[in-house]
């Protein structure tokens, strides 16, 4: 338990990346259409993000530099600006989707239209970012996100054929929907497990917590507990959708369709827990994306950032934070579907992924930053293999999106 408590930064980073509003629906749809055939994507994604988050955490602990610092230093001002603009847009639009998700969870809980809840959600998120201590924020929302474990409980209450579920995970099968659709869903799931804002948030969080070389073990346990926990939660969403929807072929495209199997399995109490979990994970993801966008911009320009100093001493950081939140609210008020929006964002974010991960790998081998704590050969091997995968996904993302018309 104490281990879990110490790993809440990793848990919150992973929850905000793997089981945010887009993934609640995307993972459930993947389960409904293809069964467990995408489980391997999650496993590969978790291994990769662990490797890179470990490097980013080590760099943050030893040198105090967060990820976008490295991006600017290694890619120069022009290419880094391209990455900043793309990452910032992706992250802010994701933030909008998360605010929409918080509002949808509140709509499920109260019956009032989600458009009414959007401004309330935005003000609540801003208040937490403005006033709450970083460690407290990460504990409250990291641990609350674990309410999603209700999907694991539901899996036991449903008539789950575990052997079949296990076999499905080992079989790569397009389930009659066509391989291009299968691979499109795979790329989208992969991109969501390795969203750049997770490493922005994780490494900046390490700096906010003032990690030093003495905290390397702490950083590592954050990575090795947090991200696999997030992956496990996403896997349980796929499994529940497989059991509940896969035979029938119905596709859950709303939040209450995602929660319906839990209602069937566990009744009203289960539904209440699921709604609470939706609220917690989307709220946590809103905090993560809101902060990440402002962290990235501040680190690119070298401004004072973070919650350690008073807001007036980090005026540009807090202004960018406010602009991001306001843009998110405005975007939602145009009544676009926030869930569709994140699907487009995942494709765009897949394209710029290498621009974030390459600088991490390069700096993790630089002794001026890390002294003798540079990567070992096996970390480099894992990092290089994973970078190849990222490049493959980023090259394939747009053609697949066009061929399959966004996975239709």
């Amino acid at each position: 338990m104490r281990k879990l408590f110490a790993a809440t930064l990793g848990v919150l980073s992973a929850v905000g990346g793997f089981v945010d509003i887009g993934d609640l629906v995307a993972a459930s749809q993947a389960g409904a259409r293809f069964g467990m055939a995408h489980a391997w994507v999650l496993v590969v994604g978790v291994v990769g993000i662990c490797a890179y988050a470990e490097m980013a955490g080590r760099i943050a602990a030893v040198s105090g530099r967060a990820v976008f610092d490295l991006v600017r230093e290694r890619l120069g001002p022009r290419v880094a600006l391209l990455n900043l603009v793309a990452s910032w847009l992706v992250t802010v639009i994701t933030l909008a989707a998360e605010l929409g998700g918080v509002a949808l969870a509140l709509q499920l809980a109260t019956g009032l239209s989600h458009l009414l809840w959007v401004p309330v959600a935005a003000v609540a998120v801003w208040l937490v970012l403005w006033r709450m201590r970083f460690e407290l924020m990460e504990r409250v929302f990291g641990l609350a996100g674990l309410a999603l474990l209700i999907f694991v409980v539901a899996l036991f209450a449903l008539p789950t054929d575990w052997a079949e579920l296990g076999r499905g995970a080992l079989r790569v099968d397009s389930a009659g929907a066509g391989w291009s659709v299968y691979w499109f869903v795979a790329v989208a799931l992969f991109a969501s497990t390795v969203s750049p804002y997770e490493v922005f948030f994780f490494s900046s969080g390490g700096v906010e917590e003032r990690w030093s070389a003495a905290d390397l073990a702490h950083a590592r346990s954050n990575v090795l507990i947090g991200f696999p926990v997030g992956g496990f939660l996403a896997l349980s969403l796929i499994a529940v959708a497989t059991v509940a929807y896969h035979p029938s072929g119905a596709s859950p495209d709303t939040l209450d369709a995602v929660a319906r199997p839990v209602l069937t399995a566990l009744g009203g109490a289960g539904l209440a827990a699921a709604v609470l979990a939706f609220f917690a994970v989307t709220f946590g993801a809103a905090l993560e994306t809101g902060l990440s966008a402002a962290y990235a911009a501040s680190q690119y320009f070298g401004w004072q950032w973070g919650k350690r100093v008073s807001p007036r001493e980090a005026a540009r950081f807090h202004s960018v934070l406010l602009v991001g939140l306001l843009l998110g609210v405005l975007l939602l008020m145009t009544a676009v579907d926030p869930i569709r929006l994140t699907e487009y964002m995942l494709v765009l974010s897949a394209v710029v992924l290498p621009l974030t991960y390459l600088p991490i790998l390069v700096v993790a081998n630089d002794r001026t930053y890390l002294g003798d704590r540079v990567n070992g050969w096996w970390t480099n091997l894992l990092g290089a293999l994973f970078l190849l995968l990222i490049v493959a996904a980023s090259v394939a993302a747009i053609p697949l999106a066009i061929i399959t018309r966004m996975g239709r």
Partner: protein
Amino acid sequence: MRIQLAKQVLDRQIVDVDGRLVGRVDDIEFAVDEEGYPYVECLLTGQAALGERIGGRVGRLLVAVADRFTDEPPVPPLRVLLTQVDRVDSVVRLRCPVSDLPPSPVESWLRRHLIDRIPGAHRASG
């Protein structure tokens, strides 16, 4: 001191003696001594210096945004003299506090017109 400017100094974070973030090394200014040898006079930081270095439409846009959020445009870049630099490792460390340098005009403008007007702006949340 022998260092590779483009690789080890340009684009690095500048940090003051207390660990506050001052800016990035957005450009470097050279001067020529009496014998005709060029030497580094100061490090430049700020959106104006960055915009000029990037150049083109994007660079001009960066400068224009900085000029919009200040009372007296154009915003000059902040000059950090080499004598104020303590050492260079993964960051450029200064030997003085950030309060010894002129404040960033954009930071001051946003502080005055936006952030200071929100209750609680004076306390760090930690």
